[in-house]
C-alpha cells in the first residue's frame, strides 16, 4: 500500500470542503420546503379516479387534477384515506382531518356545510351490469323490473336512481355496500344484477346500461378555509385558460373503453332479427369461391375461413341463412351487381366508403385485414424472372409495383399459380397469406416457402345488397365487435396447419412411387417377423430383463459409491467452512445465554450456514448421481406452459425481493403437451434463473424467453429454446471456459459475498446433456449474461398410448388399494377419486396402521399401496421398509406409491430407496394418479403372471 501522509491530509481537507458545500447547498432547499403549504387531500380509493397500483403509483382523474393545479400553486399534498369510502371523506373534512376532497356534487346539505370550488368535471350516475349478462339490455326498462341493484351507502347517486326508476316505471331492490370494491365483487359473483355508482369509476368486465343525472362536480373545502378556496379557483381558471379541454381529455383518458361499447341489439334490431329468424325475410350469402382456404368448393360443398367466420357471426345474431356459390368469378361479379341471387357478400372490398355508397351497398366494419404473401421455392435467389399470375388476380396490380420487370406466366387459378412455382415453371407468385400458408404446409417435400408482405393489405367487409334493410349492417357490425379476439385467426389455423394425417399412403406413392412400394413391402415383412419373434420370446424376455436389471443395479451402486467418495474428497473444503461456522457460533452462544440480542444474531448465522451446508450436500448428492450416470429421466406427460409458470412463480418472488424486473416471454407453442421429466426441466431452468437473480444487482433485470424451434416435419420430437438473460455482473472469458466444471465459481470481488456451492452449472450442464440438449453461454463482465438451452421433448401422440395401454378405467376397475393419509378430508377425496374409476380403497390414518392392516390382510386382498410420506407415529418411508421386510407373501411385490408434496429430487430418491415404486405429487391430480397406478399395476401384473408361470414349470 503506497499512501503518503500529505496525501492523506489532502484528502481530509477535500472531504471537509465538500461537506461544507453540501451543507450550504442544502440550506435554501430546506427552507423552501418549510414554507411550501401542505394540503391534506382526501384520497379515497375509486378505480379510475383515485388509484394506487401495486407499485405504489398513483393515477386517476382526481389525482391528475391535483397534479395539474399544483403547476399553478405552491403546494404539496399529503394523500389521506385510501382505505376509506366516499362518505367518510365528508366527516373527515368536517373534523379537520383533511383539507380538501374532490369529486363532490353540490347537494343542498353539502352546500350548507362546505365551500365549493369552480366545477372541475362532469359526472353522471352510471348503471352497469356484468358484461356477459344477456338479460339486461340498455334502455329496455321493462327488463329492469324487479332486479337487485347494488348501491354504495350514503351515496348521493342513490336518490338519482330512485327518481330514474320512477320516471321509467321499474322497481328494484337496493343492496347496500360500504366499499365500491365489495360492490364490484358482488356484481361479478351474481349477488346483484346491476351496480350503481358515479361514472367516475373505471369498469372492467362490466357493461354500461345507462348514464343519467349528469351534473358537474367540484372540489370542496371547509367554509372557513377561504384562502385555500381562492387558490383552488385561481388554479382552475389557469387550467381553463391554458390547458384547453382538460376535463374532456381526462375523461377520455380514464373512462373511455372499448369494452364499454354497448353491443346489445336495440328493439328495432331485434324486430329485424326476428323477421329473419321466422322466415319472413331471407338472408342469402355468397362469396367468390376462388380463394382456397378462404372460400372454395370441395366435393360440391362450399367451405372456407370466411364462411366459418360468418357462421359464427350469424350464430351470435341468431339468424338462419343460405349459402349460394357461383359457377365462376364472372358470374359472381354479375350477382354482386344485379343483387338478384344473393343479398349478402362476404368479400366486400372497397377502395373507400364512397365506392360502397355509389354501388348502393351497406357495409359492416371491416372484419378482417387480408394480407398477401410472396410464394417461392426455398432455393429462390431473390430475383423474380417469371411471375405466375392467375386470371382473377390481375386486378390487384401488386405485381406491377413489386415485380415490374418480370415475365408473366398466365395461369387459370391461384392453385395453378402455386403449382407453377412448385414445378419450377415460375419463380414466384403473389397470393393471400393463408392461401400460401396452406399450400406450403401441404407440400410434402417442403420445397416451398413464403414471405408475408407488409403492403398491400385489403379490408374485407360484409356487404349487403341495396334491397335489404340497412340495419342489417349495424347488427353484423355489433356481432363482429362481439367476437373474441383471435376468432378469425383460430379458424384460419384449422385450415392451414399441417396435419400428420394428411400424409397418407396415397400421398407417399404419389411423391415416391418406387420407394413407397419398396418401403411398404419391407415394413410388412418386418412386422411379421417381429410379431413371431415377440410371441416366442415373451416369457424369456421378462426373465432376462430382471437379471439385466439386477446387474445394472449392482453396477450402478458400485459406480455411485466410487463417485461419491471422489466427490466427498473434493468438497471437503467447501463443507468444512460452513461446518466450522456452525461449531464456532454454537461455542460462542454457550457464553452469552443472557444476551438475547447476540443469541438471536448468532442463531441467524448458524441457520444461514446450515442452509448453505444443506444445499451443498444436496448438490453433491445430485452431482454424484449424475456422475455415476444414475440419473434416470422420467418420461411422463408434461405441459410446458405449466412448467414455465411454476418456474416463473418461484423466480418472481426472488426477483421481487431484489427489486429486479423479471420478464417472461413465451412464444406460442405448436406442441405444448410433451413427454419428459418435469422435475429435471424445472431444475435446469431454476438453476439458471436463480443464478441470474443472484448475480444481478438490485433493480437489475432478468428475463426468460421460450420458443419452440422449427423441426423437420413428421418427427417424434419437438425442440424448444429457453433463453435466460440478465444485466448482472457477468463472467470473465477465462471463467467461461471452466463454468461447467465442478467447484468452479467466479471469484471476481463483487461475487465474493455470494454463497454458492459451485455445482449449479455442472449439474445444469449434466442434466441438459442427459436430456440430449445443448447449453450455450455468452457473457461480458459488468454487462450481463445470457444462457441459451435447447431441449428436445417427445411429442405426445395420443393414438400410440391408447394402442399400448389399456384405458385407465379398464386398468383400475375392481382394484383394491390400501391407503395411508392422515388428513381425513384428503383421505376422503382420494377414496372418491379411486371410486370414480371403479376402484376401492381402505384408508389408514398413519404408517403404523398401514403396516398392521397390510400384514393382517389375506394375500391378494390389495393390489397396491398409496401412502403419504409425512405422517404421525410412523412415516411413509418407515412404513414402506416395514412392509417390504414383513414376510407377507406380497411384501416384495405389491406396488407402493408415495404421495408427496416435495418436489425435491432427493426426497423422491429417498422414497425410492425406501422401497417405493413411484411417487405422485401433492395436491393429488386424478389423472396423474390414475396413470401412475395403471402403469405400475400393469408391470406388477406382468411380474405376477411370470411368477405364477415359473411356479408351474
Amino acid at each position: 500500500m503506497k499512501r503518503t501522509g500529505s496525501g492523506c491530509a489532502g484528502r481530509v481537507c477535500a472531504l471537509l470542503l465538500l461537506l461544507l458545500c453540501w451543507v450550504q447547498m442544502l440550506t435554501p432547499a430546506a427552507n423552501a420546503a418549510q414554507t411550501r403549504q401542505k394540503i391534506r387531500v382526501g384520497f379515497f380509493a375509486f378505480d379510475g379516479y383515485h388509484t394506487i397500483d401495486e407499485n405504489g403509483v398513483r393515477s386517476g382523474y382526481g389525482y391528475e387534477f391535483l397534479r395539474m393545479i399544483s403547476r399553478y400553486l405552491d403546494v404539496e399534498y399529503e394523500y389521506v384515506g385510501y382505505e376509506r369510502g366516499w362518505d367518510d371523506m365528508l366527516d373527515m373534512l368536517a373534523a379537520g382531518e383533511i383539507d380538501l376532497v374532490t369529486s363532490a356534487r353540490d347537494t343542498p346539505e353539502r352546500l350548507e356545510a362546505f365551500a365549493f370550488s369552480k366545477p372541475i368535471g362532469t359526472s353522471s350516475a352510471m348503471l352497469t351490469t356484468r358484461s356477459d349478462n344477456k338479460e339486461l339490455a340498455s334502455m329496455d326498462y321493462k327488463g329492469y323490473d324487479g332486479i337487485r341493484i347494488g348501491v354504495l351507502e350514503g351515496n348521493s347517486r342513490n336518490q338519482d336512481l330512485q327518481q330514474f326508476a320512477e320516471e321509467h316505471g321499474f322497481s328494484y331492490t337496493p343492496v347496500y355496500f360500504e366499499l365500491y370494491t365489495e360492490l364490484e365483487q358482488a356484481l361479478q359473483s351474481g349477488q346483484v344484477d346491476a351496480a350503481l355508482t358515479s361514472s367516475l369509476r373505471q369498469i372492467e368486465n362490466e357493461r354500461v346500461l345507462d348514464y343519467f343525472a349528469v351534473e358537474q362536480f367540484y372540489a370542496i373545502v371547509r367554509k372557513e378555509d377561504t384562502e385555500l378556496l381562492e387558490q383552488l379557483n385561481y388554479a382552475i381558471d389557469q387550467l381553463d385558460a391554458v390547458e384547453g379541454d382538460w376535463k374532456n381529455n381526462l375523461n377520455n383518458k380514464y373512462y373511455f373503453h372499448w369494452e364499454e361499447r354497448n353491443l346489445s341489439f336495440t328493439q328495432q334490431e331485434q324486430e329485424l332479427i326476428r323477421q329473419y329468424a321466422s322466415g319472413e325475410k331471407e338472408l342469402v350469402v355468397s362469396v367468390c369461391m376462388d380463394k382456397k382456404p378462404y372460400a372454395y368448393i370441395e366435393n360440391g360443398v362450399a367451405k372456407g375461413i370466411l364462411l366459418d367466420y360468418f357462421e359464427k357471426l350469424a350464430e351470435y345474431v341468431g339468424v338462419p341463412y343460405t349459402v349460394v356459390a357461383s359457377a365462376d368469378r364472372e358470374e359472381y361479379i354479375q350477382w354482386c351487381e344485379n343483387e338478384n341471387v344473393a343479398n349478402a357478400f362476404l368479400d366486400g372490398r372497397f377502395a373507400n366508403d364512397q365506392q360502397a355508397e355509389e354501388k348502393g351497398k351497406a357495409i359492416t366494419t371491416p372484419y378482417v385485414t387480408m394480407r398477401m404473401a410472396l410464394l417461392t421455392r426455398r432455393d429462390f435467389d431473390g430475383q423474380i424472372n417469371r411471375l405466375a399470375v392467375s386470371d382473377g388476380q390481375g386486378l390487384f396490380g401488386i405485381e406491377d409495383g413489386l415485380a415490374t420487370d418480370s415475365e408473366r406466366v398466365r395461369v387459370e387459378s391461384r392453385e395453378d399459380a402455386m403449382q407453377a412455382v412448385l414445378d419450377g415453371d415460375a419463380d414466384a407468385t403473389f397470393v393471400y397469406l393463408y392461401t400460401a400458408q396452406q399450400f406450403v404446409n401441404q407440400d410434402e417435400r417442403g420445397l416451398l416457402t413464403y414471405t408475408m408482405l407488409e403492403e398491400p393489405t385489403y379490408d374485407y367487409h360484409i356487404s349487403f345488397a341495396s334491397n335489404v334493410d340497412r340495419a342489417l349492417s349495424g347488427i353484423f357490425t355489433k356481432a363482429i365487435y362481439a367476437m373474441p379476439t383471435g376468432t378469425f385467426e383460430n379458424i384460419a389455423s384449422e385450415y392451414t396447419s399441417y396435419k400428420a394425417g394428411d400424409t397418407d399412403l396415397f400421398t407417399w406413392f404419389k411423391i415416391y412411387p418406387g420407394t413407397g412400394v419398396a418401403i411398404c413391402a419391407i415394413l410388412f415383412l418386418l412386422c411379421l417377423f417381429a410379431l413371431l419373434l415377440f410371441e416366442r420370446q415373451k416369457v424369456v424376455r421378462i426373465e432376462q430383463k430382471r437379471a439385466a436389471e439386477l446387474q445394472i443395479f449392482a453396477d450402478q451402486a458400485e459406480r455411485a459409491n466410487r463417485a461419491k467418495s471422489d466427490f466427498l474428497a473434493n468438497v471437503s473444503h467447501d463443507i468444512r467452512t460452513p461446518m466450522n461456522a456452525i461449531v464456532g457460533f454454537a461455542n460462542l452462544m454457550e457464553h452469552e445465554l443472557d444476551d438475547q440480542k447476540r443469541l438471536q444474531e448468532h442463531i441467524q448465522k448458524i441457520r444461514f450456514s446450515s442452509q448453505h451446508l444443506l444445499s451443498l450436500v444436496n448438490d453433491v448428492l445430485d452431482m454424484s448421481q449424475i456422475e455415476a450416470n444414475r440419473i434416470t429421466l422420467a418420461e411422463e406427460p408434461i405441459c410446458l406452459t405449466e412448467q414455465i409458470q411454476q418456474v416463473e412463480q418461484i423466480t418472481r418472488v426472488d426477483a421481487a425481493a431484489r427489486a429486479q424486473t423479471f420478464e417472461v416471454r413465451v412464444h406460442p407453442f405448436v406442441h405444448d403437451q410433451v413427454e419428459g421429466d418435469g422435475v429435471r426441466l424445472r431444475q435446469v431452468l431454476l438453476n439458471l434463473l436463480s443464478n441470474a437473480v443472484k448475480y444481478t444487482q438490485r433493480s437489475g433485470s432478468v428475463s426468460l424467453e421460450v420458443m419452440e424451434l422449427p423441426m423437420k416435419r413428421g418427427g417424434d420430437y419437438a425442440k424448444y429454446r429457453f433463453v435466460v438473460t440478465d444485466n448482472g455482473c457477468g463472467m470473465s472469458e477465462e471463467f467461461l471456459t471452466h463454468i461447467f466444471e465442478p467447484f468452479e465459481r467466479s471469484e471476481a470481488s463483487v461475487t465474493n459475498k455470494i454463497q454458492g456451492t459451485g455445482l449449479g452449472m455442472p449439474i445444469t450442464k449434466s442434466l441438459v446433456d442427459a436430456m440430449h440438449g445443448e447449453i450455450r453461454v455468452n457473457s461480458e463482465v459488468g454487462k450481463g449474461t445470457c444462457f441459451a438451452v435447447e431441449l428436445p421433448f417427445k411429442q405426445i401422440t395420443v393414438k400410440r398410448e391408447e394402442a399400448e395401454m389399456p384405458s385407465v378405467e379398464e386398468a383400475l376397475h375392481g382394484k383394491r388399494f390400501l391407503c395411508a393419509e392422515d388428513n381425513a378430508l384428503n383421505a376422503e377425496i382420494l377414496a372418491e377419486m379411486l371410486k370414480v374409476y371403479g376402484a376401492e380403497c381402505k384408508i389408514c390414518l398413519d404408517g403404523e396402521q398401514l403396516v398392521e392392516t397390510f400384514q393382517n390382510a389375506a394375500p391378494g386382498t390389495y393390489d397396491a399401496i398409496l401412502t403419504d410420506v409425512q405422517m404421525p407415529n410412523m412415516n411413509g418411508l418407515e412404513a414402506t421398509r416395514a412392509i417390504r421386510a414383513s414376510g407377507h407373501p406380497q411384501s416384495k411385490i405389491i406396488p407402493i406409491i408415495a404421495m408427496t408434496a416435495s418436489a425435491f429430487v432427493e426426497d423422491v430418491q429417498r422414497s425410492l430407496d425406501a422401497g417405493m415404486n413411484a411417487h405422485v405429487p401433492k395436491p393429488i391430480n386424478a389423472v396423474v394418479l390414475m396413470q401412475t397406478v395403471r402403469n405400475l399395476c400393469e408391470t406388477a401384473g406382468a411380474a405376477d403372471a411370470h411368477e405364477e408361470g415359473s411356479a408351474e414349470a
Binding site: Q191, D822, N823, L825, I829, M833, P923, N925, A926
Partner: protein, 116 residues
C-alpha cells in the same frame, strides 16, 4: 355461482383444480365438506389454550386440505402459520393467525353462495 367466480373470489385457479379432479361435481361436493372440517376450529382452540403442538398439527392439516382443494390464499396463509409453529415454543405472530382467519372467512362466505 360459477366455480370460476368462486375461485377468483377466494384466490385460486378453477381450471387447475378441475384438471386434477375427475368432475366439477366432486369439487363442489368437497368444497362444501371443507366447511364442516374441524381443523380450523381445532387450530383456533389449540391457539387459545397455547397448545402449540396441536395447533401445528391442525395448521398442517388445514394446509394439506386447502392445497388439495386449490384454496390458494388460505393455503399460503396456513403454510406460513405451519412453518411458524414448526418445532417452536412460542406463540406465532398474531398477523399470521389473522391471515388464516381472513382467508378462511372468505372461503366460508363464498361457499355460502356456491351451490352444491
Amino acid at each position: 355461482m360459477e366455480l370460476k367466480a368462486f375461485y377468483e373470489a377466494v384466490g385460486g385457479n378453477a381450471a387447475a383444480v378441475l384438471e386434477r379432479f375427475p368432475s366439477e361435481g366432486m369439487v363442489r361436493r368437497f368444497l362444501h365438506k371443507f366447511s364442516a372440517d374441524p381443523s380450523y376450529a381445532e387450530l383456533k382452540a389449540a391457539l387459545e389454550q397455547s397448545d402449540l403442538l396441536t395447533a401445528f398439527r391442525a395448521a398442517h392439516t388445514l394446509k394439506g386440505t386447502s392445497v388439495n382443494l386449490g384454496l390458494e390464499t388460505l393455503f399460503l396463509a396456513a403454510s406460513d402459520l405451519t412453518e411458524a409453529l414448526r418445532g417452536v415454543a412460542q406463540m406465532p405472530q398474531q398477523s399470521l393467525v389473522e391471515a388464516v382467519d381472513d382467508a378462511y372467512q372468505t372461503v366460508l362466505t363464498q361457499l355460502g353462495q356456491l351451490e352444491a
